[in-house]
């Protein structure tokens, strides 16, 4: 899921300075799961707005705020509350914020910072394991991604900063290449170590990404 967190209150105060009446949008998907934009957070945000002397004209939790058409549909059910609002505050990831901003003429204020595509280690603890590079090497690396979990995204083994199998940027973190090496060894295969990995094809990740299912796949 997309891991996001509430922006600092000082930043939100500034972003909302010109508005008195706000409509709040949350997201039932990732932002709910990582507790940044679910029902609880929308409610708390409303209370915080009141403390700031502002009003909430209404709120909605969109099923998946990143779904542009669904966001439009859900917003249509709140026409009056939207009309009354000076602006919308969106507690969703950057994708969700843009679904909303592309559907309304009013100003849209993003309430969250989006951080990464995260795995859940346990509730409230998230880790980035995939950076959506478009050119997956996991089948050779025993299911551990060096593009993401090596701080430098190296493809041919550890850097000179590895110390006792740990990463140079954080001694608490195990070196991705050390983990790959250990797991391949336990599987008794060479995997990625059998070849020199050529430079990555970053054209697979030209931004902005676009993808369309072919006719017949839809």
């Amino acid at each position: 899921m997309i891991i996001s967190e509430l922006k600092p209150f000082e930043e939100l105060q500034q972003a909302l300075a010109d508005f008195d009446k706000l409509f709040i949008v949350g997201c039932a998907a990732c932002a709910t799961a990582c507790k940044s934009g679910g029902e609880d957070e929308v409610f708390k945000f409303q209370e915080w707005l009141n403390e700031q002397g502002k009003d909430a004209t209404g709120s909605v939790i969109i099923d998946e705020a990143c779904h542009i058409a669904r966001a439009a549909r859900d917003l249509r059910h709140h026409k009056t509350a939207l009309q009354d609002a000076d602006a919308l505050v969106v507690l969703a990831c950057g994708s969700g914020i843009q679904s909303i901003s592309s559907n309304v003429d009013k100003r849209v204020v993003g309430g969250l910072n989006s951080m990464f595509l995260g795995n859940v280690r346990r509730f409230g603890q998230y880790e980035e394991m995939c950076s959506l590079c478009g050119d997956c090497i996991l089948n050779e690396t025993a299911g551990i991604c060096p593009v993401t979990t090596c701080a430098k995204g190296l493809l041919n083994g550890p850097c000179g900063g590895m110390e006792d199998g740990h990463c140079e940027i954080d001694a608490e973190i195990e070196c991705a290449w050390s983990l790959i090496y250990e797991r391949l060894k336990s599987q008794q295969r060479q995997g990625v170590f059998a070849r020199r990995v050529p430079p990555k094809n970053w054209s697979r990740r030209i931004q902005p990404g676009r993808y369309r299912l072919k006719d017949g796949e839809r």
Binding site: A151, K152, G153, L154, L155, N156, G157, P158, C159, G160, G161, M162, E163, D164, G165, E168, I169, W177, S178, Y181, F193, R196, V197, P198, P199, K200, W202
Partner: protein, 284 residues
């Protein structure tokens, strides 16, 4: 052919030193430091060392090369994508720079621009491969070069890294990718160097052992906490701590490492960090 490649080819024991470009445009201190170097085959010019922004290593190396000092240009993947790396390498060749030390580079988190976006479009193995390609007359896109560079590419290694086998598979890859010599991270004990040189034997690539002049126990502790891949053993920290003149003790420690290198390696790389005047003592 560079002097370094010639001397290593003739099995002569080589000595390299290193110089960091200034933060700013005043080259006088760096040039004066190089002036003082004696008995050195080539001078490494560091590339935003420790991820601290400084004048370009290529600019200082070109200047030194033009005034007749042989250099080893250090080039890291941290700050440049594959296009910039290729451009810089061709530029280096145009100034007569042949010796290269091709590195991944310390993470930008360690330096004075921690907010910058680290590049790492290539890793050090791929950088070596690309360099071999340029030397064969083509760029990474397979296009032919008008004027082909001559390089003597080298790579870095930390002989103390663990797991050893994992570190060493990369050394082997670097050799396959055209590394013609290695300069090592600072070596602090003989056994580590011995183990590494034993593993290196079948590869038949010269190794220049890194020797760091540690001025004080405080510096040793700083290195241990802040420099990736450098771990000064506690016994050496103690020696520096209890020494009446820590710098003299540091020179002595460096001299011991030079002695192991003379016995086991093909050269020594001296990192004296502003104390270039101690080099004759270290080599004595």
């Amino acid at each position: 052919m560079s002097l370094l490649s010639e001397q290593l080819g003739n099995s002569q024991f080589v000595v390299t030193a290193e110089i960091a470009p200034p933060k700013g445009t005043d080259l006088s201190e760096a040039l004066a430091a190089v002036e003082k170097l004696t008995g050195i085959t080539a001078v490494n010019v560091t590339d935003n060392q420790g991820a601290n922004m400084r004048l370009s290593s290529l600019a200082l190396a070109a200047r030194l090369q033009q005034q007749g000092t042989e250099t080893v240009l250090q080039l890291t993947c941290r700050d440049r994508n594959r296009m910039a790396l290729q451009s810089d390498l061709l530029g280096a060749a145009s100034f007569g720079i042949e010796n290269l030390l091709l590195l991944s580079g310390d993470h930008s988190k360690f330096g004075d621009h921690p907010d910058s976006r680290p590049v790492f479009d290539l890793d050090s193995v791929q950088l070596l491969d690309m360099t071999a390609g340029l030397m064969a007359g083509t760029d990474m896109a397979g296009k032919f070069l008008d004027g082909v560079p001559e390089f003597f590419p080298g790579a870095a290694v930390n002989p103390a890294a663990e797991p050893f086998e994992l570190m060493f598979q990369k050394v082997a890859k670097k050799v396959d990718s055209g590394a013609r010599f290695f300069q090592t991270q600072s070596v602090f004990d003989r056994e580590t160097l011995e183990r590494f040189m034993l593993a290196m034997q079948p590869l038949q690539v010269p190794v220049i052992a890194g020797v760091l002049l540690i001025r004080s126990a405080r510096m040793a502790r700083f290195l241990n906490d802040n420099i990736p891949g450098v771990q000064v053993p506690e016994t050496l920290v103690q020696r520096l701590d209890s020494a009446e003149k820590p710098l003299t003790e540091g020179v002595k420690i460096a001299r011991e490492a030079v002695a192991w290198a003379r016995e086991l390696c093909q050269g020594v790389h001296l990192m004296t960090l502003g104390h270039e005047d101690e080099i004759p003592e270290i080599l004595a």
